[in-house]
Symmetry: C2
Subunit: 200 residues, 2 copies
């Protein structure tokens, strides 16, 4: 978008992506329901009408944000490494990539994970998230049936605990710190599959 | 409290514990900030003045609820099994008991884990929660220094991932279902310490 246009309407240099990034931060801080277009405008330092220049409504911002999170996750399952080979290797690939998407798109995935499902947009997103979770759960079951995962834990429990571990990363991980996304993924995979006990 | 007294003031049979339990459910559903005494009264089916008979304020209900969650957690660390013996056995004991308290006091711990820290009561509770977390983190470090936990993961990451796994239980565990609290604790400990890979 040419600067001439934006500078006429508010703080120059905003494009839809910057508006979206700031909106997602505000949603995560205040909750989506509690965030009005007025609060958004205040945080962006532009007028409400300038926001409408970028997106027609608050719901559209939410939709764009959730689509960015879900699109990243869904694309993982279409990679060749997720589709061919032994189930346990596919599972490891999918979990590593899930962590990578989560870290790379941290505020967007945070927003997705905190959804309450009060609007159609939220319910659609939760539906897509459940579809993703079900595909990962199917991989876990396949790896267990192959005999590569232990048999003494119900696969539903395994699925819940793995997602619990991975999703909790949004609550504490600080991008740019001493723990790189790759080492984080290594650590999660090591703990989940090999356990914390030192080798005997 | 004698029934004569309560029946004069509203629905008979409520005591402070029942009021507290219902209040915690309402806080978890609507968020503490968004819950007024009016909403509480509506959910209890009694008048606002009848609530004031049980507790002086919404903050007092929050304080009682958080104290129930934190009291349960803090008591774990005072058990002999948490205080003596090898660090890895103490750690395992503490994690198992943490899961037991979490399941037994599920709505109370859920409330604790979702705190945003907007009031002094919340900040005091978060302070106590941090103190608990630090003591568990110290056990993790001690078990690692003993050589019983693997050395290739930073103890801070181990702490975050273990708490992430355990705390996420509040999001999905249904008491009274086919997964008992004891089996759940076994599963978490097995996955975290021995890993999901089938023994070779």
């Amino acid at each position: 978008m040419p600067t001439e246009t934006t500078s006429k309407r508010g703080r120059p240099g905003y494009d839809q992506q910057s508006v979206l990034r700031i909106a997602v931060d505000v949603f995560n801080r205040h909750g989506y329901d509690a965030t009005s277009m007025g609060i958004l405008a205040e945080n962006l330092g532009i007028s409400k009408s300038a926001i409408y220049h970028h997106v027609p409504s608050k719901g559209d911002l939410l939709k764009l944000a959730l689509d960015h999170a879900l699109g990243g996750l869904e694309a993982i399952l279409e990679q060749p490494e997720a589709m061919t080979g032994p189930a346990d290797a596919r599972l490891e690939f999918v979990l590593r990539q899930t962590i990578a998407v989560l870290v790379e798109r941290l505020p967007f995935v945070t927003l997705l994970l905190r959804l309450r499902g009060n609007t159609d947009i939220e319910r659609d997103a939760l539906e897509r998230r459940r579809a993703f979770d079900h595909k990962v759960a199917a991989l876990i079951s396949a790896a267990r049936e192959d005999g590569s995962l232990r048999q003494d834990i119900d696969p539903r429990t395994v699925t819940r605990l793995l997602f619990g571990t991975i999703n909790s990363i949004v609550e504490w991980y600080k991008p740019g710190g001493s723990l790189s996304p790759e080492k984080l993924a290594d650590d999660v995979i090591t703990m989940a599959f090999d356990g914390l006990h030192a080798a005997a």
